[in-house]
């Protein structure tokens, strides 16, 4: 048991139910011995609950049309909303055509299966080359919850965000990207040396379920597979021996629950 004294912050966090379990037990023990403090915190909890209850109906009210964000759309000039994806597309064309000069070569292997898992791997490698090399904006959203919600909304199904901390990669965030097969989610990770890897996920029409396959595009390589209609591709510039176990970990985390 820790000797750190109970602080006022602990007491406030107790009211908000945000203490870690060991600290929670410490505060509970303290309150058992200090009835005045216990009474004070009980009053705080009651006022917090009353405030929540008093304001809860507001969030349940139907949104008036002036707060419907869909009505705010026309105020936005069209060119502005469309600029970003066009820029991204232009960037990928430049990269593709610069391949011969820059030594960024496409392997025929990646082109051999234009619709199945090969296409998925190609899209992942292309996206990785565009976004992982962007020092300022490798991702659009950093927080996992918002990211998962966004990608899930565009792919019309819940999609989790893999946690690769144990493999040594922290989540930078991600974005929705466009592919010839519709929207896809792209997660970006980084290790302690700044080496990045990407995980692309999108629905599959062909190869709805496919075993993990290795793809090598020269500077970028990775592993792709599909499970129950969702395709995944992990790509990076690290050696295949480094990427393979991480891909296994992603597959393990994103596998649909056994029925």
């Amino acid at each position: 048991m820790t000797d750190r004294p109970i602080t006022e912050d602990d007491l406030q966090a107790y009211v908000d139910e945000r203490l870690e379990p060991p600290r929670q037990r410490r505060v509970e023990a303290y309150l058992a011995d200090h009835p005045d403090a216990a009474k004070r915190l009980a009053a705080f909890r009651a006022q917090r609950d009353a405030l929540r209850a008093a304001l809860a109906p507001v969030a349940a009210e139907p949104l008036p049309s002036r707060l419907d964000i869909r009505h705010l759309t026309p105020r936005q000039p069209r060119w502005r909303a469309q600029m970003r994806p066009l820029q991204a597309l232009a960037a990928s064309f430049i990269l593709l055509s610069a391949g011969g000069l820059g030594g960024w070569q496409l392997n025929e292997h990646g082109r051999s299966s234009p619709n199945g898992i090969g296409a998925l791997a190609q899209e992942a490698a292309d996206s990785y080359s565009v976004f992982a090399t962007d020092p300022l904006h490798p991702v659009e959203i950093a927080e996992p919850v918002g990211l998962s919600h966004w990608i899930g909304s565009r792919l019309n199904r819940p999609v989790g965000v893999p946690d690769l901390a144990r493999a040594g990669y922290r989540l930078l965030g991600g974005r929705v990207i466009s592919t010839p097969h519709g929207p896809a989610g792209l997660y970006m990770y980084e290790d302690s040396k700044g080496m990045r890897l990407g995980v692309l996920v999108r629905p599959m029409k062909i190869d709805r379920t496919a075993k993990m396959a290795e793809h090598d595009f020269g500077d970028v390589r990775g592993y792709s597979w599909a499970d129950q209609g969702l395709g995944y591709s992990l790509v990076g510039s690290a050696p295949a021996s480094t990427l393979h176990p991480v891909a296994d970990e992603v597959r393990r985390q994103l596998a649909p629950p056994m029925s």
């Binding site: 406030q12 006022q47 759309t73």
Partner: protein, 173 residues
Amino acid sequence: MTMLDTMLIVEPLIPGLRRYARGQVRDMTLADDLVQDCLERAVARWHQRQPDRSIKAWLYAILHNIAIDRGRKTARQGKSVAVDDTVQSEFATPATQDQGLRTDDILTAINLLPEEQRAVLLLIGVEDLSYAEAADVIGVPIGTVMSRLSRGRERLRVLLDGGAARPALRRVK
């Protein structure tokens, strides 16, 4: 990111933004004005947002700043409302005595707190922002958030205890 993406991310947060605005400003029309301003600014500034900043904190920060600006203006000008437009609860207290704390009491009491204390009580206690997010929204260190939380709760408790002797709570000014 297209407009559609912006909508998908922001839309689920709008009910919470309305709730926060209503905690700050009891009048429904005024509160929704704040939210509307907030959404318009969010859409216009979407691409200026730092990618590593929590979108929730970013949106609440926009709303918070609008609410503070508005609060300063009304404080200067004084509130002018036609009698017919006022909510009945501003004059009378309905006779429901079910819970320990009544809806009307708590909302009246929180409006009597200094703005800086009211904001943390709402952001943390009602909107479930983390302490770090609340600090981000208000633009102060976490330590300041914690001390405002503590002082705000204490002050609210005193106000509500006084509320047992009812008239003290109503229309102090």
